[in-house]
């Protein structure tokens, strides 16, 4: 197997993001025509990736890698094999058409530039996701697709339904992303590598690991939410709130397939176990049936298509879960076909909506003469979706039936039923609006501009061409892809026309008969499903609302209980915790400081300490503000004296000045504050506060005692003493430290002083002019009056 390094992959991965940057500017310059210009970017990417086809078809891979966060083993590495390549071609190819289509669809929309930006960003994320080699990079791209999808679904953010859908998609896929991250980290720890290519080469390591079950469940959590598997399917139909180009691109052709991609990617190392072959087919089959039945219920073209997308994703998961060669080949073919026809049909639905003014299938009819090109494209898409010859969808269905033949009869039955219903929806979308008598539509319908019909026409032609040359398609694209998914060479022998009457052909005929029957009885079927849903009356969509509402209520209650708005409660809790933090470690480890020797203070020292203590006591006991201010001054001056006595004249000096200024400004402010200076606390409160205060104080004292009983590390002090004069030319060591050795600190500190000065100025100045009258709530005034007893309220 050859592996080539191509550095242009970096450029290709970055190009959509760069294009997203210039998109708004380009839109301002060119208007809606910017779409044609911007489409060149994905088109160039498409051509570049197409150049890798021969290499990959020959079994080779292309790589590119650069270090990103080497300390954490995170590399920006890309790795392209058959699976990545087909995805990359679909993303860039359909992306080209979508950008053009968006230019036509949203022409004249004031935010079109932003839309281009979002959709190109999404393209970059999705492209990165499928070619990423590093697991962390893969996760980041994965989350990026969720975020860009959120932006795109919520593009029309003035509508509540859009916002809800966007949030829902973000929460569901983002939650799954977290599960995926855990899974990815477990994979990395089990295999000892963060590179996907090395994980894939690890053989049975993951399957035999004790962590296999958690890894599988976490990965499935990511994949099932992203690919809208039951019961997480509800976000996808809601995401149809997005503009149609988004639905066509993200929610049918690319993003929702990220989950399938992940499952296919990990199939060689996680698949082929009993658990894998139970969970995946089970959920896939349920999703397939639920999706198609719900699709029948709808009358909105986009919603019908959205539910069949859910169903198709279920089918893909089902097929991947069988881990059998033929079924995987079927899955690969179906994925390819689905991206083509579903993208086209969504664009058709958008054109109808755009030109006729409604998407309700019951209000449309007879458009075939007015919109012939659209009709043709719709028909081609529907034939492929229904699995009829001569489209690629037919080949896919033949192969997948063949693959399922060996497995359980139930899976086969689910696949047949699902496909029959998909045929119904496909033709309902493609035929009902166009056939029959002409109906009056909100807008006078006519054919859309080329920008609109180009996409569905090209996709239809590709679907046709790939089917006609199915041998080439198989050997160049889908064979290597199936081999990558299967984890070994795949025998590929594809024919457009079955060479003999085989079981799959018979199943196909059965499907068509069932489908045509159901199509004719569509209205009755719709009523039936609607009635059944009414009986159930609850769905995960409503469940989502309930969960969100519970979360919001719970957080409101929690916030109110934690932040009650009472400062003294916050302070009490905080300081009680401080006391615990100080004392608990010493108590638990029994490292109390040793009993100190009795200090022998000199006369002056004893006197100063006594003065400080008196000052403190006087502050607490002060009954008038003058006493309080003077006592505050006393303890401050006592501190200054202590500095003086222990060899710190600079400190002492500063402290004197500051205390003087403090007393002055406190006096200035307090004469106006006009406060009664008496403690209001009841004695029980005082007891509690006093206990906390004394415990904290004791904690600090004991810590300090313990610190001073340790040996003193003089290294820093010696450094400053030794170099203060020799290299900094100063004899006042303290000053040299401030202005020289630690000058950067001081610079920050004087900036802080400056900022407080400005802040004070702002507080004083602003207030005087703009007065916001604050009316205290009545009961609050009563309460505070009550609590303060005889004190007066100003």
């Amino acid at each position: 197997m050859t592996s080539e390094t191509h550095d242009w992959i970096f450029l290709a991965a970055a190009a959509p993001f760069l294009a997203a940057l210039v998109a708004p500017v380009l839109h301002r310059l060119l208007g809606a025509r910017a779409g044609w210009v911007l489409a060149l970017v994905p088109f160039a990417i498409f051509l570049q990736f197409a150049s890798l086809v021969p290499l990959v078809a020959a079994g080779g891979t292309a790589t590119a890698a650069a270090d990103w966060l080497p300390a954490y083993g995170v590399r920006l590495s890309y790795f392209i094999d058959g699976l990545s390549l087909v995805f990359a071609l679909l993303i860039s190819g359909i992306g080209t058409l979508i950008v053009v289509y968006a230019g036509g669809y949203l022409a004249g929309h004031p935010q079109l530039g932003r839309f281009f930006s979002f959709i190109l960003m999404f393209m970059g994320a999705m492209l990165g996701l499928v070619i990423a080699d590093n697991l962390i990079a893969l996760f980041i791209y994965w989350e990026l697709t969720s975020i860009t999808s959120f932006l795109l679904i919520g593009f029309d953010h003035s509508r509540a339904a859009s916002r809800r859908a966007a949030l829902q998609a973000l929460l569901v896929t983002g939650g799954g992303g977290l599960a995926l991250m855990a899974g990815v980290l477990l994979i990395a720890s089990v295999t000892g590598t963060k590179e996907m290519s090395e994980v894939l080469a690890s053989g049975d390591v993951l399957r035999n690991s004790l962590l296999y079950v958690p890894i599988l469940l976490l990965v499935l959590g990511g994949a099932f939410t992203k690919s809208a598997q039951f019961p997480f399917h509800f976000w996808l139909p809601n995401a149809m709130e997005a503009p149609t180009p988004v639905s066509a691109y993200l929610h049918s052709a690319t993003m929702v397939k990220a989950g399938v991609y992940l499952l296919m990617r990990l199939q060689p190392v996680l698949g082929d176990t009993v658990l894998w072959m139970t969970i995946l087919p089970l959920f896939g089959a349920v999703t397939l049936l639920v999706g198609t039945l719900l699709a029948v219920r709808q009358t909105d073209l986009k919603l019908m298509l959205a539910y069949t997308t859910v169903a198709s994703l279920g089918l893909l998961v089902l097929l991947t879960g069988t881990s059998s060669e033929k079924a995987i080949e079927g899955a690969v073919l179906y994925l390819f076909a689905h991206s083509l026809f579903k993208g086209a049909l969504f664009m058709v639905a958008g054109i109808i909506d755009h030109e006729a003014g409604t998407r309700d299938v019951t209000k449309l009819g007879g458009l075939r003469k007015l919109m012939p090109i659209t009709f043709a494209a719709a028909l081609v898409g529907a034939i492929s979706m229904a699995g009829l010859p001569v489209m690629i969808g037919f080949v896919a269905k033949e192969v997948l039936y063949e693959g399922l033949l060996g497995s359980s009869i139930w899976l086969l039955a689910a696949a047949v039923a699902g496909n029959a219903l998909m045929l119904v929806i496909g033709f309902a979308v493609a035929l009902k609006p166009f056939l029959g008598p002409e109906v009056h539509t909100p807008k006078h319908a006519h054919e859309g501009p080329p920008a609109l019909w180009l996409g569905p026409v090209v996709l239809g032609l590709v679907g046709l061409a790939s089917a006609l040359a199915v041998g080439t398609t198989g050997s160049l694209l889908l064979g290597p892809m199936a081999a990558a998914v299967f984890g070994g060479p795949v025998e590929s022998d594809l024919h457009l026309i079955p060479t003999y009457i085989s079981a799959p052909l018979l199943l196909s005929i059965l499907t068509v008969i069932l489908g045509v029957g159901a199509f004719l009885a569509l209205d009755r079927l719709r009523d039936l499903v609607a009635r059944a849903l009414k009986v159930i009356g609850w769905g995960p969509d409503r469940g989502f609302d309930q969960v969100v509402s519970v979360i919001v209520r719970f957080s409101a209650v929690l916030t109110r209980s934690i932040q009650g708005g009472r400062l003294e409660v916050y302070m009490t809790v905080t300081l009680a915790l401080v006391a615990l933090t100080l004392l608990l470690p010493m108590g638990l480890t029994g490292t109390w400081p040793a009993m100190p020797a009795m200090p022998e203070p000199t006369f002056y020292e004893a006197g100063v300490i006594l003065i400080a203590l008196l000052g403190l006591a006087a502050v607490v006991a002060a009954r008038t503000r003058l006493t309080a201010i003077v006592s505050l001054g006393i303890q401050g001056f006592a501190v200054a004296l202590i500095f003086m006595l222990f060899g710190a004249p600079d400190l002492s000096f500063t402290q004197f000045m500051v205390e003087t200024l403090s007393v002055v400004i406190l006096t200035l402010a307090m004469t106006r504050l006009n406060l009664a200076e008496r403690d209001h606390r009841p004695s029980s409160q005082r007891l509690l506060d006093g206990t906390i205060a004394i415990t904290c104080g004791a904690g600090f004292g004991l810590i300090l005692l313990a610190v001073t009983q340790q040996a003193f590390d003089r290294r820093l002090t010696d450094f400053f003493d030794a170099y203060s004069r020799t290299i900094a030319h100063g004899r006042n060591v303290v000053n040299v430290i401030i202005v020289d050795f630690r000058g950067l600190d001081t610079l920050g500190e004087i900036a802080v002083v400056m900022i407080t000065g400005l802040a004070i100025l702002a507080v004083v100045r602003l207030s005087g002019r703009r007065r916001v009258p604050v009316v205290p709530e009545p009961e609050q005034v009563v309460a505070s009056r009550h609590s303060r007893g005889a004190e007066t309220v100003r």
Binding site: V552, S555, G564, G565, L567, E568, P596, P599, P601, T602, I609, A612, L613, V619, V620, R625, A628, L632, Q635, G636, I642, F646, G647, L651, T654, L661, S662, I665, A669, L675, H680, R681, D689, G690, C696, G697, A698, F700, G701, L704, T708, F720, D721, S724, R725, T726, V733, V734, I737, I738, T756, A759, I760, S767, R771, Q780, A783, S784, S787, V793
Partner: protein, 125 residues
């Protein structure tokens, strides 16, 4: 001697915390002022005490005489004193303004940011 100052530091902290726990704005402010002194003394003492020998280098010496006071905590405290003063002034002005605007010096009465009867959060999207 460190022992005596440790006791004094404990007294400073206890006093300031007792005042901080009050609902009275001006007491809280005084508590903050004392807290600054408490922390400064804590720093000062943990750098060990030296009686009356400041950290200066003699005119003819290149290094200070052995046994001078530890200069490092002094440098840290010097800036801390000025900063805690400017913050004290800021808090004072803030408290003063709050008192003027809200008409109360009781922290329980200051409920602009966290009103007593908060409306339920919006339930829509």
């Amino acid at each position: 001697m460190e022992t005596a100052l440790a006791g004094l530091v404990a007294a400073f902290f206890a006093t300031s915390i007792y005042l901080l726990l009050s609902r009275h704005l001006i007491r809280v402010l005084i508590g903050v002022a004392i807290l600054g002194n408490a922390v400064n003394l804590l720093l000062f003492t943990s750098g060990r005490l030296t009686r009356e020998v400041p950290a200066f280098i003699g005119l003819d010496e290149m290094v200070p005489a052995p046994g001078v006071a530890n200069a490092l905590p002094q440098a840290l405290i010097l800036t801390a004193i000025v900063i805690s003063f400017s913050f004290f002034a800021f808090l004072l002005v803030l408290g003063y303004r709050a008192y003027q605007e809200l008409g109360t010096d009781d922290t329980n009465g200051m409920r602009i940011a966290e009103p007593r009867s908060e409306p339920p959060p919006p339930m829509g999207y």
